[in-house]
């Protein structure tokens, strides 16, 4: 099935909030509640048998703050479809798709670890990169690159790395990269 037909089938069956076509890539913005059903339909009826990647975006200062991105692919037809949905900061939780693509298990664990978005129904939602008991979510925009000090008994401690607040830290905001990036500021700022 060509990609345009797949998209039409999706739009007929579910409520699609937005559709972006850019350089041959199709992005559908969908409702958070529908994501499991949409993914199951994509896999079982449209042939998107491969979940390339899952990502999360922190639009710090905007509401809803977070965004989830699903990259779907079909090995048979080489079609590529991107699904996006918004997640609010008040309720940072999405239903898991690990029952559809098993690879989503670790992708979701990473997103939970780094961005703090929970996945309801996930079989094993533990941190994957940081250790158990680490209190922060390091890829959020309001988290400093150098880290924050934590004190967990025994050896699990962290100190802020020496550059904290230093010249290599990007400012958390929705301004353009040019204004957020380290070179936009003087070191003494």
């Amino acid at each position: 099935m060509p990609l345009s037909e797949s998209v039409a089938a999706l739009e007929g069956k579910f409520s699609v909030l937005g559709k972006v076509e850019f350089r041959g890539e199709t992005t559908l913005i969908v409702r958070r509640e529908d994501i499991v059903e949409i993914c199951r339909f994509c896999k079982e009826s449209l042939g998107f048998d491969y979940l390339i990647d899952m990502a999360s975006v922190d639009n710090f200062g905007e509401e809803p703050r977070f965004e989830m991105v699903y990259e779907l692919s079909s090995i048979a037809t080489n079609d590529h479809l991107r699904l996006k949905l918004a997640v609010s900061e008040d309720e940072p939780a999405v239903a898991t798709v690990s029952g559809i693509w098993p690879t989503a298990n670790w992708h979701e664990r990473e997103i939970f670890d780094m961005m703090g978005i929970g996945f309801t129904g996930h079989p094993d939602l533990r941190r994957i990169l940081m250790w158990e008991g680490y209190p922060y979510f390091p890829l959020r925009k309001d988290f400093p690159l150098g880290g924050k000090p934590t004190e967990v008994p025994e050896v699990a401690f962290t100190k802020a790395a020496p550059l904290e607040g230093g010249p290599f830290v990007t400012l958390p905001s929705t301004a353009t990269t040019k204004d957020r990036e380290p070179r936009a500021r003087r070191i003494e700022d």
């Binding site: 880290g147 050896v155 020496p162």
Partner: protein
């Protein structure tokens, strides 16, 4: 020369007897047979492997027996970036190594965090373990590792573990 002194002299053992301090003998044995625990965590481990391979041949300095069991190791070579998550395992393995034990921090990351000024990286393994030798470089060449090993051998040579034990014993009596 008196008669009895001549009789006590046995020419067969000439050249086979060395007089030394017990500390020196122990140090000599320890330093020439250091069994490393290869704590390879990043690219430094590749240079560590090169140091063990034929071109550089760390066996010439008695440290070729890489032991993957901490219970059989003398020196832990921390080669690579120590993340906080891995630091828990490094510390545990260090605690499992029997005394006497030494530690070489190989490369910039193990010594100071290196270029990873980041929330996830321990800023130097010396925050967890006592480090004997730091080796600079990113990664250090095998020659630098061998130089660090020789530095550690020199350090071991200067230790006085038995003398220290004797001193502590005397202090405990008084």
């Amino acid at each position: 020369m008196p008669e009895e002194a001549l009789a006590a002299y046995d020419s067969k053992v000439e050249g086979n007897i060395i007089f030394t301090k017990l500390d020196s003998a122990i140090n000599w044995m320890r330093k020439n047979s250091l069994w490393p625990m290869p704590m390879g965590l990043a690219c430094c481990a590749i240079e560590l492997m090169a140091a063990g391979a034929s071109r550089f041949d760390i066996a010439r300095f008695g440290a070729e027996v890489m032991r993957f069991s901490p219970r059989q190791s003398d020196v832990m070579i921390v080669a690579g970036t120590v993340t906080y998550k891995m630091a828990l395992a490094v510390k545990r393995i260090w605690d499992q190594m029997p005394e006497p034990k030494w530690c070489i921090a190989m490369g910039a990351c193990a010594s100071s965090g290196g270029m990873y000024r980041s929330y996830s990286v321990l800023q130097g393994i010396d925050q967890l373990l006592p480090v004997d030798v730091y080796i600079s470089g990113c990664p250090p060449r095998p020659e630098a590792l061998i130089e660090g090993l020789l530095k550690l051998q020199r350090k071991i040579d200067g230790e006085e573990s038995l003398t220290d034990q004797k001193r502590l014993l005397i202090e405990s009596f008084s």
